[in-house]
């Protein structure tokens, strides 16, 4: 057979050509490129939208957790002169520093930024806020020598530690918020953990993780039988029962939280029933809300559908003949379940557990409403720092740590299940 002739065969020069005469390879590449551009153009609007409305805010939060322009912006000359001063020398900064500080501070006082600086420095050392509030006004009409004048206002200005704190806090970027978020602080001798009694955040992180594990485990315990039942029933019946799972899933979070608040109160329905059937007496009503119990019960209820749905979708695919084969070969019911059925459901357990755990660890509303003080999560502390204590840097640092934790878990989830397999309802 002659390869080089005949209609539709390879032409004499060995190059396949499209109808318009361009080489086929080139033509295909062009079409492919056009398709790529078209798909990117379709994606671009949303990508830009998400970058501006969502990614930029997250980046801003990450930046705020290390940002520290306030010291240098408020007292620029002092910070500049303090560069040459060594706290280890055991001597106070010289008169020039005090003079610069007098100028900076009186300007800051007039611009009403001095108390904010004091608040910022207070995170490094307690008492700085009061010191700045006290010294702002006197600084505006001070006479040289300034060193003596400042010490006359408050003798803390004669303390080397005060100036060391200002010098330590002056770089534009700081790890101070992260240190506070991990219950550490920077002293003259380097980074040190806070005394045991003052540690707060590590304890809160541990509690958040512990409670999330308890919630994940109770969801698994309650979700597994339900998913098993749904998977073993005929489709028509299981679809009906699935509604009982989907209805809570679709009901507003606040509705479910208010329901638990009503049910768990000391004068609420559950306590009333327990008193009525005589399990407890009227004086011994159980305290089930505004503590850990409340958080665990309410959040287990809220997150249970997220455990049942992935479990159900995995169990649906397990062929009943596996278990039948095991039994026909003499396995008992338990052995057939434990050795054959259960190992097949492990992917579902992994998917559901990670999903519930990730959702639980960042929860805010439910712990806030039913958690009291002993059942709150780290997210409640973040909210507190944003809206009440206004320590945004610390809130950002805590948020960053939580974000890293969640992203690591999602990475694991992606490895196990694949993000693309996320299904809704």
């Amino acid at each position: 057979m002659n390869k080089s002739d005949g209609a539709g065969g390879v032409p004499a020069d060995g190059i396949m050509r499209a109808a318009d005469g361009t080489p086929l390879k080139k033509s295909l590449a062009r079409a492919l490129r056009r398709e790529k551009i078209r798909s990117l153009l379709l994606i671009l609007p949303l990508l830009a939208f998400i970058l501006i409305t969502f990614i930029a805010p997250i980046a801003d939060m990450l930046f705020r957790s290390v940002e520290n322009g306030i010291v240098e912006d408020t007292i620029p000359q002092t910070v500049g002169l303090l560069q040459d001063w060594d706290p280890a020398s055991g001597e106070l900064p010289d008169e020039a520093v005090f003079a610069a500080f007098q100028k900076d501070l009186s300007e800051a006082f007039k611009a009403k930024t001095s108390t904010r600086l004091g608040l910022r420095l207070n995170y490094e050392k307690a008492g700085m806020s009061g010191l700045f509030r006290k010294s702002g006004r006197p600084a505006t009409n001070m006479e040289p020598p300034f060193r003596e004048a400042f010490i006359a206002v408050d003798e803390d200005w004669g303390d080397i530690e005060t100036w060391a704190v200002i010098k330590r806090a002056s770089p534009r970027l700081t790890d101070g918020y992260f240190l506070s978020a991990l219950d550490a602080h920077r002293t003259a001798d380097g980074v040190e953990m806070l005394p045991e009694k003052e540690r707060l955040y590590i304890f809160l992180f541990m509690r958040t993780i512990f409670l999330s594990i308890v919630i994940t485990f109770s969801c698994l315990l309650l979700g597994y039988p339900i998913a098993y039942l749904l998977a073993s029933l005929p489709v028509r019946t299981s679809n009906l029962l699935l509604i009982l799972v989907l209805l809570p899933f679709w009901t507003s979070l606040l509705v479910r939280t208010s329901a638990w608040k009503v049910l768990l109160q000391q004068q609420g329905v559950i306590n009333d029933i327990l008193v009525w059937i005589g399990l407890i007496d009227d004086a011994g009503r159980l305290i089930m809300i505004n503590n850990m119990t409340g958080t665990i019960i309410a959040m287990t209820h809220i997150l249970l559908p997220f455990m049942i749905l992935p479990l159900f979708s995995v169990m649906k695919t397990i062929s009943p003949s596996y278990v039948r084969a095991a039994k026909s070969m003499g396995a008992s019911d338990w052995t057939a379940f434990w050795k054959i059925y259960f190992p097949n459901t492990v992917p579902g357990i992994g998917a559901g557990s990670i999903l519930v755990f990730i959702l639980a660890i960042g929860y805010y509303i439910t712990p806030e409403l039913v958690g009291g003080t002993s059942g709150v999560f780290i997210s409640n502390r973040i909210a507190y720092h944003i809206s009440s204590s206004l320590n945004w840097g610390l809130a950002a640092a805590l948020g960053t740590i939580l974000l890293v934790l969640v992203l690591a878990l999602y990475w694991a989830y992606d490895r196990i299940v694949g993000i693309d397999n996320v299904k809704l309802g």
Binding site: S39, L42, I55, S252, Q265, V323, G399
Partner: protein
């Protein structure tokens, strides 16, 4: 598994029925009871959160619509309701429009950096709400959007887009490409092809995505709590303050109304899902 074989022993029978009717029954009860219990409680004639004697004896005096009346007349609740219906549709529109386009783009066969793009677009669903709220609060106050209507709308739209992408992508998975090629072959331009051929087939996915986006915004409280000012107080926000501060039974009336809304939404979604499967030629379940 589904039914007991005729040769099952007594022990197997006992376990089978205990498991099915006692254990699973109790768990279903746990799932559904808290939602159902608030419905009768919302008709309480007293300002209590538990059943009164009159209610238990089924006396008509024990029941009343006064909490619903309070919801409909109290200016705080009315303002919140209005705000919710101003914010959610706008956010839904933005999320659905952007999300549908992007999902169509993502479903093409050759998309460069698909995984990275997908990760960015899905991220609002992954990041815990408190972190999104914190970041948005910081960033939106820099650009003057904090405490404004549009700030809340943009934030809610961002939170809703992942759901639109997921649902629309799901309908596009079974999409037969030869349909668009046939349309092009018959002389339709890409725009006509999109609206006449592709759109009718993916509409169920788009609508359920829009419903998800709507419910995301309508239920959302953490972000609006930080981003909104008093003028943007939504229904969930009002419920949140109500639960935290002066807990009043009106909340139960609102909760009952919201349960009714979710039942309607659930029904619509299920109908859409079936329609989509029928349209795409998959076996109806």
């Amino acid at each position: 598994m589904s039914d007991l074989p005729p040769y099952a022993s007594t022990g197997q029978r006992i376990w089978h029925y205990t498991f099915r009717y006692v254990i699973c029954g109790l768990i279903f009860f746990f799932l559904i009871f808290p939602i159902l219990i608030i419905i009768p409680l919302s008709f309480n004639a007293e300002d209590f959160f538990t059943f009164t004697k009159a209610m238990l004896n089924l006396q008509p005096e024990g029941y009343s619509l006064k909490h619903y009346n309070d919801f409909l007349t109290n200016p705080d609740w009315q303002q919140a309701l209005r705000n919710s219906f101003l914010i959610a549709p706008a956010a839904t529109f933005l999320a659905t429009a952007f999300g549908t386009l992007a999902a169509i783009g993502l479903s093409q066969s050759h998309v460069p950096f698909r995984r990275a793009i997908m990760a960015v677009l899905i991220s609002p669903m992954i990041v815990p709400l408190i972190i999104s709220a914190a970041g948005m609060y910081f960033f939106y106050s820099r650009i003057g959007l904090q405490g404004t209507y549009w700030g809340v709308v943009l934030a809610h739209a961002a939170l809703g887009t992942p759901f639109v992408i997921i649902t629309v992508t799901a309908t596009l998975v079974g999409f037969d490409r030869s349909l668009t090629r046939a349309a092009a072959n018959l002389g339709a331009n890409p725009v006509t092809t999109f609206f006449k051929v592709q759109m009718p087939l993916i509409v169920p996915g788009v609508v359920s995505g829009a419903l998800f986006a709507f419910i995301t915004s309508f239920d959302e409280v953490v972000v609006v709590l930080f981003l909104g000012s008093a003028a943007q107080k939504t229904l969930p926000w009002q419920m949140f303050t109500g639960l935290r501060e002066q807990i009043s039974p009106t909340i139960l009336a609102v909760a009952t109304i919201m349960v009714a809304i979710s039942i309607v939404l659930l029904t619509v979604l299920e109908m859409l899902r079936r329609r989509s499967e029928r349209l795409r030629g998959l076996a109806p379940t």
